[in-house]
Symmetry: C2
Subunit: 430 residues, 2 copies
Amino acid sequence: MRRKASPMTAVLDRPAVPASPASALVCRNCSARYPLGAQHACLECFGPLEIGYDPAALAGVSRADIIAGPHSIWRYAGFLPVGQDPLTRVDSSTGMTPLIRADRLADELGFTAPVWIKDDSANPTHSFKDRVVSVAITAARELGFDRIACASTGNLANSVAAHAARIGMRSIIFIPSDLEPAKVIQTAVYGATLVGIDGSYDDVNRLCSELSELDEFESTAFVNVNVRPYYAEGSKTLGFEVAEQLGWRLPAQIVAPMASGSLLTKVHKAFRELSSAGLVSRSSWRVFGAQSAGCSPIATAFENGWDVVRPVKPTGIAKSLNIGSPADGPYALDAVRSTGGAMAQVTDDEIRAGILLLARTTGVFAETAGGVTVAVLRKLSESGALDTGQETVVYNTGDGLKTLDAVSDTAQLTAVIPPTVKAIRNAGLL
Amino acid sequence: MRRKASPMTAVLDRPAVPASPASALVCRNCSARYPLGAQHACLECFGPLEIGYDPAALAGVSRADIIAGPHSIWRYAGFLPVGQDPLTRVDSSTGMTPLIRADRLADELGFTAPVWIKDDSANPTHSFKDRVVSVAITAARELGFDRIACASTGNLANSVAAHAARIGMRSIIFIPSDLEPAKVIQTAVYGATLVGIDGSYDDVNRLCSELSELDEFESTAFVNVNVRPYYAEGSKTLGFEVAEQLGWRLPAQIVAPMASGSLLTKVHKAFRELSSAGLVSRSSWRVFGAQSAGCSPIATAFENGWDVVRPVKPTGIAKSLNIGSPADGPYALDAVRSTGGAMAQVTDDEIRAGILLLARTTGVFAETAGGVTVAVLRKLSESGALDTGQETVVYNTGDGLKTLDAVSDTAQLTAVIPPTVKAIRNAGLL
């Protein structure tokens, strides 16, 4: 195992760097604790590890500290496992994406309370994955790795390749070979080694787990395998930012898409950390999860009252959510059930309609995952599971330019005519 | 002509709103002055009008005012013709895009001084056009228009349609019918009326000029025709932001793409305004302009020492720059010549290489216009016209996801293999 580099020796005249608030890797199943490092599974029970923090350190973070920080995810370094020293951060200007008040969308869906879109298509590679990758690659460098890798449904591939190019680190990226062309090209353009796998994302992920154990990959950080505990913490910033952007308070309801289920659980974790640290007043919130009918292992478990998430073989247009064996599925179920939320699944047609509804009411062009989330927002507000009288934040995690095929049949030219006023008149456009 | 609405009556308990620093519309040819309003051409000489300001008002803007403003273009409202009252702004979270220090790019091109990328693909619709549209649609609403329109090579179409969707204003958009599919779909998805014209951008622009004179379009603001003086001012924010992000100083050299030529002249204007207002210390700067060989009317005039810009029929892959009859060509020539800068033009192959060079050294995936700019950066640094010992800012104005075809042949999968370690080994990837 790689050890943490020590960049601090012989550096003079620098302000004292705050220590990391992270204290250990903690098993989410059996609570066994391990030293911080490149480990992701419990040696006792094989459960997934996550970062554990020193509660006193988190309690010491103030609003003023955050506000004084950069306009990026790194303003929340006090709640992250790495990056306390600004010089160690891989900074791609990720985060502090717009929180957009969507009054026209709220009106269409019958909400009387505000609806907000947290628009993560504004990140550098246009998805929320820039958050987790910024944290993961910062950790990877600290832990002494010299190459970065991932298993990806597309957005993660884009982000890993871009971050690696930014800092001049080698990268090797594994994706299902049938991804959208935009996601393939946007990864290869950065100079990454890009390996298409004949198989599903779950096959790709399994392969990467095997590879990460090989000597040949000893110096390679797989962001969502061997440094996954660090990586996953990046998603907490989606919770921190919403709270800060709302004026240091929590929304009553959030709706998030689910692939592995990690994002949703980390927003929930962020809200708990902010509450515990006293940075927001204590209030309750409910968590809602969105999947496509083509890949709904977590939502199906919710709907059937199961505790176990049964793997599925994914289909459908929401490829970025097509994880049939979701690592964080049980934890997503916990977060939703413990807060009194709900989950739902939507068809490909509903996804397309969700993309168009969001675009024409807010000016935000989401990828299929965003269409899933908006369609579930509609479905759960119609069913009454979502309270239309309570403030709601909807997470858009990706960009419509990456999944153009989903709407290319409907989003087309109104007319094609010669450049004359007469033609405009004849086309009925006057 | 529409008159300014007066939203201020009977509003109590609001802080005093600063007056607009704009004082008149001024002819760029003959200096004739007109009252502020929806007018774009001089009645005396038919020259283009631009916004004139009260010098005392501009001199009154302080760094503290700007820093206290929002993290968007509207922090510079003190230098803009509209939006002094925050409640009147159309705010799409545009601006304050990253200024990225590109050390790896600098190394490859032999620069000893810093090279920075101002990355406007981070704007909401992923081009610099969000800046000009935010200002134009704010002005259009103030001037009483109820529909927004444009002639566009694609990025402007995306931005106008998105802004209109955000505020629920009708839009009608005119584009050449042969634009990239991504730009067509991203406009139509917002619900815009989208008219494809069989012809060049210059044909589309001419048609829009005619339409803007018709009674049927009396209440329609064509952002780059009848409200163009307001619209164009939005590009100044590309200059303001760079100066602020550099710590309130000006770079020695800037490189910008040229379509109409407006952007480059407005960055130059912004630097002059900042210097005059004492917000940066006085220093000299040189302005460099980039065009593609497929459409190089301004660069060709520069290279031949002409004062007149001769129209051309555009070709080539840099479609967003394909304006054969550039309205601001003469002013771009002035800005470049008066500062001791230069212009150059590059082939489609050089443009593709520019996109790839930028992507693999910085993690920024630019559209073809960005490829033009980076290729010109290379060309002019090799020729010695750009001083590699002086700090240089390069403007990337758009996003590679919109022009994927430019690099789809080269940016592809390294290998496609089954999901086994053996296959990885056989492919030589261990």
